[in-house]
């Protein structure tokens, strides 16, 4: 396990004069849960977009599982094992919960240029989809229309879809966004369980959850990583405290 599963080198992205990602370098070894935190506008979501491939980087490289993926499209990266969840729930509301997950299984199981057999009746797709639903605890909702789920359940489905793509790495973009206390606790338990089987990059505002889950934490401020380390080390880093408390003199 010498080479990290995900290796980011000097990644950059500007919108006009605004440097949103300003030379980010980061290694995530296999098996790690790496949290990225930072104040609003630090560029966390942009970083996820660049990693997942929905946004092209200006420069820098991303290596995944030994290969450079910086120039690949999002679907190509997904097929190599990088799956993301969305900050704002993005599911197929008109499809059943099972179909949402089965669609993700279908994407990696054989050609989808099949025009006649009933996809909904494919045992293998449904079985694997059920397995993903089982992990997030949505089995009893399988036949429900995804749009009719509660907010917390939609967040769970979001994870199940990511899992169903068969990923090695999960990019979770604020999975707790908008959830209530109980829903949030359930999701934290779920992520803790996923950590046992997957490498995870987690972006999250909820500090309590981050310090509870993360093996290592990187702090992003104005597109730069100002600190990386164990939760303890980061928590006590003076620069980080300054950034979060907004104390400019100490930060400089």
């Amino acid at each position: 396990m010498n080479t990290p599963l995900l290796s980011i080198q000097d990644l950059r992205k500007s919108f006009g004069a605004l440097k949103v990602t300003d030379g980010v370098t980061l290694d995530v070894p296999a098996g790690e849960l790496h949290a990225v935190i930072g104040p609003n506008g630090a560029g966390k979501t942009t970083l996820i977009h660049q990693l997942s491939g929905s946004l092209a980087s200006d420069s820098g490289t991303i290596h995944f599982d030994g290969d450079e993926v910086s120039r690949l499209t999002m679907p190509e990266r997904v097929r190599r094992g990088m799956a993301r969840s969305f900050q704002i729930t993005s599911i197929l509301s008109g499809f059943t919960v099972l179909e949402n997950a089965a669609m993700a299984v279908q994407a990696r199981s054989g050609s989808s240029f099949r025009f006649f057999g009933r996809a909904g009746a494919e045992r293998r797709l449904n079985d694997e989809a059920m397995a993903a639903l089982d992990r997030v605890g949505l089995v009893d909702r399988a036949e429900r229309r995804a749009g009719s789920l509660s907010h917390g359940e939609k967040r769970q489905l979001e994870m199940a879809i990511a899992l169903a793509t068969g990923p090695k790495l999960l990019l979770l973009d604020e999975p707790l966004a908008g959830t209530g206390h109980e829903e949030s606790a359930a999701l934290v338990a779920l992520i803790a369980a996923l950590k046992e089987t997957h490498t995870i990059v987690l972006i999250e505002h909820d500090m309590e959850a981050v310090f509870q889950l993360a093996d290592r934490v990187s702090v992003l401020v104005y597109g730069r990583v100002i600190a990386t380390g164990t939760p303890e080390a980061v928590r006590n880093d003076p620069q980080v405290r300054a950034a979060y408390l907004g104390d400019e003199t100490e930060a400089a």
Binding site: V78, G94, F95, S112, R114, F115, A119, G120, G147
Partner: protein, 338 residues
């Protein structure tokens, strides 16, 4: 797909307004059986009431039903508002006329050529159009349709603006079977039913599921590893090919082909049939074609300015009615969601 859309917008909330119930529920299957059975019995009825022209009218209606059915794959299931669909109808019709003028009269050969030509045209223009979206896609498909129209208008070797009259209908494996109106009627009905069943299967297949998923949330589909473009382009080619088959029958029914078949008003009318009938239902557009053409006949008998009435109906439908005939039927029977 722009990054900002992939990022922030909760796409699944803005697109497809009212969700249809289950895919092809019993109501829809019943409607399909009723419509196709009624069509199958029509020649007998025509014979009983002594009105052979009924069969001719019904053949014409089925041509457009087939074209509207294929357009539903794009508009109803793929959220691709194509405004150039009549071009494929015209390509099919001209394949018959041009081949016949060179002595190739067999309908099977003509159909193969029609499908090949339409597929090629769909592949090239679709590949360009599908790189864009929204108003661009509508305008570009319209422009390509118009390009095909002008091409045929200026092709004076094959009648140009005036069109070209067929000496006789196509042959089927050497026989003159299709010269009989009733034989042509049943041949087309068979093709229509086959297309309906085939598309029904296709919608439920792996491919159809990807198309439907892309309609609802393209960002999500990309995030699980699908390239929407390849699937949309394939659907565009399939729809074009089916419309070309409709064109083959149109040429045979009218025994005349002209660029007017490809005019942009025709494309607009096909969209109207799909939407009025209820898009995303397959049988809806068939009903829509029947309703549209009967209404056209009825209004035309009523006044020479029938298009005025049609225009008013369209605007009223958009402003006050939703879901087309299928939605109306649902509301009347009190079933399904609003």
């Amino acid at each position: 797909m722009s990054a900002s859309e992939a990022a922030g917008r909760p796409v699944d909330q803005v697109q497809t307004p009212a969700k249809r119930g289950r895919l092809f529920g019993p109501g829809r299957r019943l409607a399909a059986i009723v419509i196709f059975a009624a069509l199958a019995l029509l020649p007998l009825v025509a014979n009983l009431i002594g009105d052979p022209f009924l069969v001719v009218t019904a053949t014409r209606i089925m041509v457009f039903a087939l074209a509207a059915l294929s357009l539903d794959l794009l508009i109803g299931f793929g959220a691709m508002v194509s405004f150039g669909h009549a071009a494929f109808l015209g390509i099919g019709a001209y394949a018959v006329a041009i081949l016949a003028s060179h002595g190739v009269e067999d309908i099977l050969v003509q159909t193969v050529v029609a499908v090949a030509a339409a597929s090629l045209f769909a592949f090239v223009t679709g590949a360009i159009s599908l790189k864009t979206k929204g108003v661009y896609f509508i305008m570009i498909t319209l422009a390509f349709g118009q390009m095909a129209y002008f091409f045929m208008v200026s092709l004076s070797a094959y009648g140009g603006d005036d069109g070209i009259t067929l000496d006789r209908r196509s042959t089927l494996l050497g026989s003159r079977l299709l010269s009989d109106d009733i034989a042509l009627f049943y041949a087309l009905l068979a093709v229509l039913v086959l297309a309906y069943l085939g598309l029904t299967r296709l919608i439920g297949s792996r491919f159809g599921r990807v198309i439907r998923g892309t309609r609802e949330n393209p960002a999500r589909m990309q995030a699980i590893g699908f390239e929407p473009f390849r699937f949309q382009l394939t659907a565009y080619v399939i729809a074009g090919a089916i419309a070309a088959v409709a064109g083959v029958f149109l040429a045979n029914q009218a025994e005349f082909v002209s660029p007017a078949y490809m005019s942009w008003q025709r494309s607009g009318e096909l969209i109207v049939m799909v939407v009025v009938g209820g898009m995303g239902t397959l049988i809806g557009p068939v009903a829509g074609a029947i309703a549209f053409l009967l209404l056209e006949d009825w209004l035309a008998a009523f006044s020479e300015h029938w298009k005025l009435g049609l225009g008013v109906l369209l605007i009223l439908l958009v402003l006050f009615g939703r879901g087309g005939l299928a939605g109306l039927a649902r509301r009347l029977t009190g079933g399904g969601r609003a």
